[in-house]
Symmetry: C2
Subunit: 483 residues, 2 copies
């Protein structure tokens, strides 16, 4: 094959019969154009697949929880309502006027949950009012002091801003009044540096407060009346779904450990990871839930802060499940015939642990104090005692039956069994926390019939996708890496 | 003793010789006054002790980390600078004018860390500019369309606000542009509902942008030039201090387990709790650190996101330490004479594990790739092999020496030993993550001399209090309950 034929076959370059230099140039140009074209197409294909992948992920966010899409429309609606309200009123006079403060209030204050919106509304109203009054007072004093006026105003601004900013590091202030501190500093500085006289200022402050009030009422109205999302309910659901996931994880781990070697992936047993990582969202929801009025089954003083204790107990349990899971996937395993000896009793303990957690989650979910919970705990303890008995008699059983098994082979199995015992102890901690919640929140006593009926219902219904708000947190350890 | 004497002794009531009814009234009144007085004094004492307790706690926040107090003064300074700047300029014309936007920018944008401030400044500037341009375009179109104007404006406001609000649920947008989305909606709605004509609006937008720019420059200037707090450094310190705490916790657990029964409290071994609970702050700092320019040893593209992986590896280790700790405090313990058999080798494993973690933390702290780290890992593995060998030979040793010991007694000890083996495996995961960081961040090679010197320095210097920003997180499981 000669050079020309080879080139023709490659089809990448054109040869023109002109002097050497020119030919080379054309080749390069043609090659460059072709390469640029190829790059462009490749980039477009990549971009298209990226865009469609991104679009799918965004669509999934909205499809998994339609309330998130609804939230977007609620914000749009509240803004349009406020702007229409001001279109039709004479006090509207452009961006600098009163309309601005109403719109600003809606944009800044409207949050996903009712608790979040109430928290911001309350903080904004109280901080604006208190800073306004304080600034008016200081302004009045500065007015009377003549030459010292700029120094008094600047000095007070400096000191108040410094003190208020520092106060945000106090945990209680941070948790409840963080936004209010910002608004306090903002309002105080705006009034303090303004060139208005005190009587003008008073009229201005009154007008501003009324405008902010309109914004707050519109915002709260839309937030509460159209598909409200309650922080308290979210916290409640998160706790219930985490408890179910933990139950599934314990069962899953035990199943996988004692199953034949070629078991499928352990999707179910990964549920404990959600429990490990939900502390931040639990704390945030509990923080916002305290601002919410009574709604549905949740009274005015529902003990939201106690959910954190249930969460802590569940995390204590999840740490052990994590250790159990690492035993399940470890390389060093007890021989199959040794495992078989404890298989049945371990499976029973796992199933009883899961049953207790499911009973507890049902009690929280339905807000009734379960009669069967205590029986389930007793059954679990019986199973644990059996397991401990079997562990005690195992060496002698093995010595009689299978003299070739060394003690070292049994170690991994013993570790698994000890972890199961520890998990059952920690589940009792979860049950204690749930029972305290039942007392604090005055759960109703369930009748025997109800109990049976509800058990059937609970077993029949699947977990609703809305009950798993942090499904995307399943492997959050990797999220930061992805981002 | 007669009634009068008894009353005199009690000293609580006065008897006046008047008719029955009156006497009773005086007695009641005197009792009520006395009780009210007692209540008042009690309340004042309680209030005083509460206030002084609160004041002490607040003082401690500032004393533990003076940078927090400095932050307050920095905010005050920036505000005074901006207000003084505007006092001296003719364009100042009251609250509605340009000064307002500069002040608002400073108040809202000034954050504790440089990364936080840059994040907000960037978001504010880009969102204001893009929303302004978009709104001007829509305004122009609406202007031309005659009667349809209010519908075009309201419709676009509704759609854009809904879409922008929904976009906040996308994790990437939430992490990097959350604040920008708020400002985008705010600016767009302010411009869209304004009654100005387009040419007026353009002038207004230009003035506003320049004012915001002044606010941003003042804010960034004060934030970076006066005692800057870098998110990247905070993340780095948090990782280093967590690694040291984990090392201390492993040593502490082993020490307490094998010590004589009457050991003091386990303050040292509680360090792992900080590691368990620092995920949220690690993620937040890594998120902000990406906005920071190069500073000190941290280059422009320092792999901050990789710290999350080190954190995840450390948490994996901390879960096991938690399980180990529960074995330490458990009621069921192996008999002392059985413990003694593994005491030395377990202590060695614990010490070697701690040594590896300390070497790794030193490598991260000094940003040099440690030569001795690999040796430390090898030593740890040797110790682990010894432990496994001893575990294997333990039953025969016991059978020879102490025939009265049942196998069941040994179980708790075996669980502890297995957990130590698992911990050493997970520490290798931490070391791998640290070595990947060393490659990504191009840690310098330490010379042999440096190594020796630095080891001495590290051993001599105590951990600076600033290195433990989350010391108050030590038992965060209880915080929600306290709040």
């Amino acid at each position: 094959m000669d050079a020309a034929a080879r080139e023709a076959q490659a089809g990448l370059e054109w040869r023109v019969t002109v002097p050497e230099g020119a030919s080379v140039t054309v080749e390069h140009e043609a090659g460059a154009v072709f390469r640029a074209w190829a790059c462009l197409i490749a980039a477009m294909v990549t971009a298209r697949s990226k865009v469609s992948g991104f679009a799918k992920r965004v669509w999934r966010i909205g499809a998994d929880d339609p309330r998130k899409a609804a939230h977007g429309f609620k914000v749009g609606l509240a803004l349009v309502l406020v702007s229409v309200f001001y279109y039709t009123r004479p006090l509207y006079d452009g961006v600098g006027g009163a309309a601005m403060w109403a719109i600003m209030t809606v944009v800044v204050v409207f949050e996903y949950t009712v608790g979040g919106s109430v928290y911001k509304c309350f903080n904004r109203a109280v901080a604006t009012a208190s800073a306004g009054v304080l600034a008016l007072g200081v302004h009045w004093v500065a007015d009377k002091s003549g030459e010292l006026e700029p120094f008094i105003l600047s000095g007070s601004l400096f000191l108040l801003a410094a003190a208020a900013t520092f106060s945000r590091f106090i945990p209680t202030v941070k948790a409840r009044f963080d936004y209010g501190v910002t608004i306090f500093i903002l309002t105080y500085s705006l009034v303090a540096v303004s060139g208005y006289r005190v009587d003008e200022l008073a009229a201005l402050a009154q007008q501003r407060l009324s405008t902010i009030a309109i914004g707050i009422f519109m915002c709260l109205g839309v937030c509460v009346l159209i598909c409200p999302v309650w922080s308290g309910q979210e916290l409640h659901r998160l706790t219930v779904s985490n408890m179910k996931k933990l139950a599934g994880a314990i069962e899953g781990c035990v199943d996988v450990y004692f199953a034949e070697p070629a078991t499928p992936a352990q999707a179910k047993s990964d549920g404990y990871k959600c429990v490990l990582n939900s502390k931040a969202s639990e704390d945030a929801q509990a923080n916002l839930a305290r601002w919410e009025p009574a709604h549905g089954k949740f009274g005015f003083r529902h003990p939201y802060s106690h959910y954190a204790k249930i969460g802590a107990a569940m995390r204590g349990c999840a740490y052990c499940v994590e250790a159990l899971n690492s035993c399940v996937v470890a390389e060093a395993q007890a021989p199959e015939h040794v495992k078989q000896l404890l298989r049945e009793v371990c499976a029973r303990v796992g199933a009883q642990c899961a049953r207790v957690l499911r009973e507890a989650s049902r009690s929280v979910e339905t807000m009734t104090s379960s009669r069967t919970l205590d029986f389930a705990v007793a059954d679990m303890n019986t199973a644990v005692h059996e397991l401990q008995g079997d562990m005690r008699s195992l060496p002698s059983m093995l010595a009689v039956k299978l003299s070739e098994t060394s003690l070292m082979d049994m170690m991994p199995l013993f570790t698994v069994a000890s972890l199961l015992v520890e998990i059952s102890t920690r589940i009792e901690g979860v049950v204690d926390a749930v029972e305290t919640l039942a007392t604090l929140a005055e759960f109703k006593e369930a009748s025997e019939d109800d109990d049976d009926k509800k058990r059937e219902t609970t077993e029949m219904t699947k977990v609703h996708p809305l009950n798993e708000p942090d499904a995307e947190d399943a492997s959050p350890e990797n999220q930061a890496a992805k981002a």
